[in-house]
């Protein structure tokens, strides 16, 4: 089992969700995040005092999948989030030791889906 973490542009969330659904990935968790990467930030000024904003709004996806789904999940995310411009985001893949469904106490690969 793997845990996939992806940072994408907020406005791409819907597209990514569609692609994931098409790839039959229906489970995921989403949080808001601020990201710092190659993408340049912008200057904000308030009452004449200036600050460089380099933490840009991103959406963070967390998706636990069985190992055989990793590639299709990653592909789906890329299909949905890719624009080719800086700031498109990153995907991280981690090993997932166990997964437990609270409702049924099932665990392991059958609990993921």
């Amino acid at each position: 089992m793997k845990l996939i973490i992806a940072y994408i542009k907020p406005e791409k969330l819907n597209d990514v969700k569609q692609e994931l659904f098409k790839a039959e990935i229906f489970k995921m968790s989403v949080t808001n995040a601020l990201g710092c990467g190659q993408q340049k930030g912008y200057r904000e000024s308030y009452r004449g005092a200036v600050s460089e904003v380099n933490l840009l709004k991103k959406v963070r996806l967390e998706i636990a999948v069985n190992a055989e789904f990793v590639d299709s999940t990653v592909d789906a995310i890329i299909r949905g989030a890719h624009t080719g411009s800086i700031g498109d985001g990153k995907i991280f893949v981690l090993d997932l030791g166990n997964c437990i469904r609270i409702r049924t106490r099932e665990n392991g690969t059958s609990a993921i889906g």
């Binding site: 907020p10 406005e11 808001n32 912008y42 308030y46 709004k57």
Partner: protein, 459 residues
Amino acid sequence: MLKYIVISVSLILLTLGYSSLLLLAGDVPTIESNAKAIADGGVNLDTVWVLIAAVLVMFMQPGFALLEAGFTRAKNSCNILMKNLMDFSLGSIIYWIMGFGVMFGAGNLFFGTSGFFLNDTGSTFDSLSWSTVPLECKYLFQLVFCATAATIVSGAMAERTKFISYLIYSVIISAIIYPVSGHWIWGGGWLAEIGMWDFAGSTVVHSVGGWLALTGAIILGPRLGKYAPDGTPKPIPGHSMPLAALGVFILWFGWFGFNPGSTMGAITDIAHIAVTTNIAAAAAAISAMITAWILFKKPDASMSFNGVVAGLVAITCPCAFVSIGSALLIGLVAGILVVLSVVFIDRVLHIDDPVGAISAHGVCGAWGTFSLGLFAQDIFSPGTTGDGLFFGGGLKLLGAQALGIISVFAWCMITGFILFFVIKKLVGLRVTKQEELRGLDIDEHGMEAYADFQIFTTQ
């Protein structure tokens, strides 16, 4: 403050209505001095009333600002607030320089050609001589009406219009577009001659704003993500219903200046006008809610808010000429109409009007103007409108009203398209895609409206 009056008190008293006080103090009152004092006191009272009414209408500015801000996304809030602030600020100056003269100054049947800078050479403002209040009071009262028309447009063009372009639009509407059609109806122009009536401005103020909003929204095109490729409208929820609700309540409150204040004098008719105004708003709120409930299965709050505005807009024209019962009906229809119109414009025409301004002000302004031709009753203001169709007055009034509605529609569509087209060519009308995604606040104003909060920008 004080000393000024300590010194000048007798002068003021003498000239401005308390001659009686002085007389009591020294001179012997006469019938003539009493009659003079009574007249002066009447002018003072009129001035107090009209000034307060003007101030109530001025307060509608934050009403619109909050309603529009609440119905749009958090990332564009500074922008919409600034637009509302600036159209009033620019309007205040432009209308003084030029707009008021074009609207009420002596001229021809189509526009005024004198009275710029409130310059009154005696008969310049004969079109307003029926009111006893000082010229500056008339200007202030009319200014806040102009600002209302101007500010309506910002809502329909929200979340994608360039700030500088909006400022230019703002100047032109206050200087020319609004005053010209206003002259036709209120400044002694051709529509007044023909017998069209618009007591407090369903057409003069609201439809003008609504139709200009229509042209603006068409030329701009919808917000990114508003319509799916197949044309299905997607919801882009407003970011704060409490602010929107407060905005609506403020508008309702301010409308008690708008309609009753349009008497421009302190007469007891204001009570009747206030009551018709209130009941139309109430009825429209309810009927809009029910219509939304039937159509969408849930009583959508934003539609009820639009309902209130729709009812108020509709009753604005007929408020002084119809019964309470008729006002209730006019409101009921307005509430239904505004919901249907919002849905139609969104689903069928695919014109993106984030706050429903076209429906509430344009469509319901037209309905209100038209309704006068149906519901007018001579008894409320004898010798004015005469009876409407439903009260045996025939089609005469209705025809004049319809003509008024159509002419003003045509005027606004033509000038609106020209104006926005020219602005588009000269400075551009719409922000870039990237600015729209990130929000106009950051890119147009360099700041955020809610710095301490985390804002979703997934659409």
